[in-house]
């Protein structure tokens, strides 16, 4: 019996200057949470979302930044040649927030 993750996890984000504060995740699957950070449309960093609900990305390179919370959606255990999940992936569980430096 493999676990089946149902429902849709959701969190809301609040932006104060460059600091992003997330709510608790509803329908939390319990899998890993991470922040995905993009600048000018290109992903530049992934940071594990620790226990602190507030996150501030340290990069101050000029550009338009967008941050979103993601959670790992496990669908099956299949792996690629590098031992990474082949079909299970991270999905966005919040709306993105954006700021410009």
């Amino acid at each position: 019996m493999d676990q089946k993750l149902e429902g849709t996890p959701k969190a809301t984000l609040r932006l104060a200057e460059r600091a992003v504060t997330r709510s608790e995740v509803s329908n939390d699957w319990g899998t890993r949470l991470q922040w995905s950070i993009s600048r000018d449309g290109k992903q530049i960093a992934i940071v594990g979302a620790g226990l602190d609900l507030t996150f501030e990305h340290p990069d101050t390179t000029p550009g338009k930044y967008e941050i979103v919370l993601q959670q790992f959606h496990y669908v099956n255990y299949k792996k690629d040649k590098e031992g990474q999940f082949a079909e299970s992936k991270y999905i966005n569980v919040s709306e993105p927030v954006a700021y410009t430096i």
Binding site: M1, E6, D28, G30, T31, Y77, K79
Partner: protein, 459 residues
């Protein structure tokens, strides 16, 4: 007092122990020991008044590698220390894996046993039997699960079974030998009740608690009465199997017809926020259900985190490229976060409800994993050293019992064997291992476990 005598009982390690069996002469006047034990076995003890603590066992099927979880060796060579980094915890000097940040905050409630080991076969089933019965495998003398022992000695506190397995029994983990989760010679009346379905799913229902298709509860009750009338006729010749079957039927009907017992399994009575806190997955919701069942009278709940090791994401990190292709990715993205969330939710929930002092939590698994990472980037079975842990009840938290060598290959000090963990669980539940005997095979009284509890857990 009447001393029945000294009995020299061999231990698994080959040593012996003298035990005294004392019987109050005034109470037992005129009774022989076998008759006294028969009375005890037949329930002369008022089971509903038996005051022992409860136990929730979380069995991490597949078995996490100790070097990647709770006994990290950051100074070891790269092909031994693995990918993950240790983090500090609420206990100075104690570090655990970075992927257990919540657990790191509550280590003051947890007692780690880092020097577990055994020397018999490295199959999953062998480890399961060792850790859930306290005994090695003997096909001619199968041993009962801890929960079955509790059921036999202390019975149920109410309509719920004394011992329950969530969410389902362990199935295929490699061999066809028993998994140590059966009642063995204690009889079918003391088999654990198995939930048999996934409490995390929206369409969850307990199949065995639903009236058979097309039958109303009135018809079920009518059938029960008819069965009882038939049994009354047969009762003129009572045998142990009849009594045993009666207990099993009574239990089954209670489960099927009692609104209270059905409610015990209804997670919709819990707030969505609490269900989220445990994690909306099979393991998390099973831990939440375990708390509910203990709260409502079950004495011993076992949560099997998985029911197999093949074709699913689980701790069995062989990285074999086939049906055992679990890798560091499973630990990082799925297993460690889900365990961290559920285990700490259970601890906090029990504490907030005032239940932690009366509930022993045992987190156990089959073995450790090979110190040297294999050619495919995984680790294989390794019973020579691993870490399990206990919390709750009288277990002293914030401590580490034993240690392993520099590469986690063998106990360095205070080696601990599985029977000692089982003895510790029994002691933590409040059972006096010196005086409490179990009706063994052929109704011979036997000790619950031939081992001493780990004293450092209780000091």
């Amino acid at each position: 007092m009447l001393h029945i005598g000294n009995q020299y009982l061999p231990l698994c390690s080959g040593g012996t122990r003298r035990s005294f069996l004392q019987v109050g002469a005034a109470a037992m006047a005129g009774l022989s020991l076998p008759n006294w034990l028969t009375l005890q076995a037949a329930g002369a003890i008022d089971e509903k008044k038996a005051k022992i603590r409860n136990c929730i066992t979380l069995f991490l099927v597949g078995s996490p590698g100790h070097l990647d979880t709770w006994d990290m060796k950051p100074d070891a060579p790269e092909d031994i220390r693995g990918k993950f980094k240790p983090i500090s915890t609420s206990v100075p000097g104690v570090q655990i894996c970075e992927h257990f940040p919540r657990m790191a905050r509550v280590m003051d409630k947890v007692a780690l046993i880092r020097s577990l080991h055994y020397s018999t076969g490295a199959s999953h089933e062998n480890g399961q039997r060792w850790m859930m019965t306290g005994h090695d495998f003997n096909a001619a003398n199968k041993q009962p699960h801890m929960g079955s022992v509790i059921s036999r000695l202390y019975g149920s506190k109410g309509d719920l079974p004394a011992s329950i397995l969530l969410p389902t029994a362990i199935g295929n983990t490699g061999t066809t030998t028993p998994h140590g989760q059966e009642s063995a010679y204690l009889g079918s009346a003391h088999q654990p009740f198995i939930l048999g379905s996934d409490p995390a799913l929206a369409n969850f229902k307990v199949a065995d608690l639903e009236a058979p298709g097309g039958q109303s509860e009135l018809r079920v009750e009518a059938r029960r009465k008819l069965l009882q009338e038939i049994d009354d006729v047969q009762r003129q010749v009572e045998t142990s199997s009849t009594l045993e079957r009666d207990t099993a039927y009574a239990r089954a009907f209670n489960l099927l017809t009692s609104p209270q017992t059905k409610k015990a399994f209804d997670l919709n009575e819990e707030s969505p926020k609490l269900r989220d806190r445990y994690g909306r997955n099979t393991f998390g919701q099973s831990c939440l259900m375990a708390r509910r069942l203990i709260e409502r009278g079950t004495r011993f709940v076992t949560v099997n985190q998985f029911d197999t090791v093949f074709g699913i994401s689980c701790w069995d990190m062989h990285a074999d490229g086939g049906s055992l292709n679990n890798t560091y990715a499973d630990y990082e993205h799925v297993l460690c976060p889900q365990f961290d969330l559920a285990f700490t939710a259970l601890l906090e929930d029990l504490q907030q409800r005032g239940m932690l002092e009366e509930t022993v939590i045992a987190v156990i698994s089959e073995f450790g994993r090979t110190p040297k990472i294999n050619a495919k980037g995984g680790r294989d079975h390794y019973p020579s050293a691993w870490t399990n842990f206990l919390a709750g009840g009288p277990i002293g938290g914030g401590r580490v019992i034993g240690s392993t060598d520099k590469i986690g290959a063998a106990p360095h000090d205070r080696p601990v064997e599985p029977p000692q963990v089982v003895a510790s669980i029994y002691q933590a539940m409040g059972i006096d291992l010196e005086t409490t005997m179990l009706p063994g095979p052929g109704n011979r009284p036997i000790r619950l476990i031939d081992a001493e509890p780990i004293r450092e857990l209780f000091s």
